[in-house]
Symmetry: C2
Subunit: 200 residues, 2 copies
């Protein structure tokens, strides 16, 4: 085989297998183990397929799905930074930028640029596609933690105001899903899955 | 929340979390555990994104990716039938049809039909999109088993002619990738990862 381009693409595909070993803080719904980032990526892109009708603005669904498929690849090098870890989040941007350069850099130049651009677009949350993609990425953990009866929230002593702030970007992607998310948070507090807002 | 449609969609999303518990016969590349079908689905749809340029016919990539994202959901009920298990494959079609009816049937009617149609299209391998999607689904295990130095092949006493037959549909989706697959199989035999064709 003398096809350097294809060999580069296959090396990238082989490298990203490592995303299956990156554990998140959430559990799979049976609760028997933590969820990894590869299966999470699959789950949120199916979420986008199924909920696309609720987007605030019209979107290119292929772009949303491609964005969701690759947006967490940086965790192969940078790890999964817990969203409520203030210290970890200070260095997150720099660690993830270096990771994006290395991992997307395994691809031929044109695809390197294409996927790096998708990743940055997701992070910047300025286009209709990235707003909706981010809404999916925020909706899923909320549902997941709710169905796990709040286990990750309780394990990490998270309060409802933190969950509310974390979920707020859902509104930029979908007003309908934001209203739904608020009822889920309220219901989680009512059921004791989540502590009420601190100091309230 | 009084939105039965959205509630149905969320129930579907919650149900398909179970795909993360369905193990395949292949290992993740580090070799420490079997791969599950959810993370496999993610991996092959990224493969499709990266290798789309090699398709024999022009394709609607969104349709290919959506197909790959949902084509294995039937395994939640029907399990992963090992491709070289002749007995299991006799009952596979009927088990998977029932599973598709139940799982896609959790969705509102329009989406039930849409995703069921995608699943059947994948199985029938008659459109350009399904031929390419199937090529992705056959390329990935070949690469995976090759990078695992043939461990699943050796564990199940698989010969190169079986792998060759299993990989053959790659040709219908991509002549380029089929040629590449053949060199991978030859190289696997040369390296002792895979037994040569039985009786040859």
């Amino acid at each position: 085989m003398n096809n350097e381009r294809l060999e580069q693409q296959i090396r990238f595909i082989s490298e990203i297998d490592k995303l299956k070993t990156i554990n998140r803080r959430s559990y799979i719904l049976g609760g028997e183990r933590l969820e990894n980032t590869a299966e999470h990526s699959w789950h949120i892109l199916v979420l986008a397929m199924v909920l696309a009708e609720y987007t605030n603005e019209s979107i290119d669904l292929l772009r949303v799905i491609e964005m969701l498929a690759v947006h967490d690849l940086v965790e192969i090098d940078a790890g999964d930074t817990f969203c409520y870890d203030e210290q970890g989040n200070l260095s997150k941007a720099e660690r993830e930028m270096q990771a994006a350069e290395r991992i997307f850099g395994l691809l031929p130049d044109d695809q390197h640029i294409e996927l790096f651009t998708l990743w940055r677009e997701f992070e910047e949350r300025s286009t209709a596609e990235s707003k909706f993609a981010n809404a999916m990425d925020r909706t899923m953990p909320l549902l997941h933690n709710y169905y796990a009866q709040g286990r990750p929230w309780r394990e990490h002593d998270i309060h409802s105001n933190q969950v509310h702030v974390r979920a707020a970007p859902i509104r930029d992607g979908s007003q309908t899903l934001w209203e739904y998310a608020r009822t889920v948070i309220e219901d989680a507090v009512a059921k004791g899955y989540l502590s009420g807002a601190e100091g309230v």
